[in-house]
């Protein structure tokens, strides 16, 4: 088992890199004491955060040279993930974080809800024109889904 790790990745903001980010975070989580179910929860949270940067952060036509940053740190069984973009940002963060709120009629508006329900903490820092930064943490041994299943 790995006690401490830090991986920082900068990915071209294309849909195909959401899976790359997901796998990277999963590998670092799996190095720690996270169960398979917990690693699955991390994957979901990362998928939502990185998808938002790719889909909402940047205009699709200008996407070519834009990038999404993800920092994954593992310290004494706490995983910290920071996903950030330099895109258009969010006007009303509190509103955007409500379940079923989306600026896109084809999307569910569940991204932030999924991040919140599958990680221990979620902080969103964003403003129009200043990009978006999502910070999430999770301690090993807190599988949220399995708790849900048990209910």
């Amino acid at each position: 088992m790995v006690q401490r790790n830090r991986v920082l990745v900068e990915l071209a903001a294309i849909p195909e890199n959401v899976g790359v980010a997901r796998l990277l975070a999963a590998m670092v989580a799996a190095q720690g004491d996270f169960t398979v179910a917990e690693v699955d929860e991390v994957k979901l949270a990362v998928s939502e955060a990185v998808t938002n940067a790719v889909v909402h952060g940047y205009q699709p036509d200008s996407a070519q040279d834009h990038s999404v940053r993800m920092e994954v740190s593992l310290r004494e069984n706490v995983l910290e993930i920071i996903v950030s973009d330099a895109g258009r940002g969010i006007e009303n963060v509190q509103l955007a974080m409500q379940p079923a709120v989306s600026s896109d009629p084809d999307r569910m508006g569940l991204g932030f809800s999924f991040m919140e329900s599958h990680m221990d903490s979620l902080e969103v820092d964003s403003a129009p024109g200043r990009g978006t930064r999502v910070r999430m943490t999770k301690r090993a041994g807190t599988a949220h889904l399995s708790r849900l299943e048990a209910n």
Partner: protein, 111 residues
């Protein structure tokens, strides 16, 4: 990921596998919308037996197809939900709109 599909009368079965995110959501949407445009499809059954991961982008594509099928008077169902992806589907509420079947045969005979 390769999406498979099969038309059985007016029933469209789509078989997915692996991790389903925005990339697969777009491919699924394209495939189903194209078949709904060109062929006489009434009901849509999505087989998830080989799926290992689903995020909200894919769930959005699923719900979008549900709206279209539902408007046209058809039925939509999920065939075999693997354990690890069940909680995500439940949180999204898709099971309130779609029936769940244990096999393709069961879905087709239930229609």
């Amino acid at each position: 990921m390769a999406i498979e599909h099969e038309l059985v009368g007016a029933n469209l079965i789509v078989r997915l596998n692996g991790e389903l995110d925005l990339v697969e959501a777009a491919a699924f949407k394209r495939l189903v919308d194209d078949l709904l445009d060109r062929r006489k499809v009434r009901n849509l059954y999505v087989n998830l037996a080989q799926v290992t991961f689903v995020d909200s982008s894919f769930l959005g594509a699923l719900l979008g197809r549900y709206r279209r099928i539902n408007t046209q008077g058809g039925r939509m169902g999920i065939i075999r939900t693997p354990g690890p992806v069940r909680p995500t589907l439940e949180l999204s509420g898709v099971f309130r709109m779609m029936a769940e079947y244990g096999s393709e045969q069961e879905a087709l005979t239930a229609g």
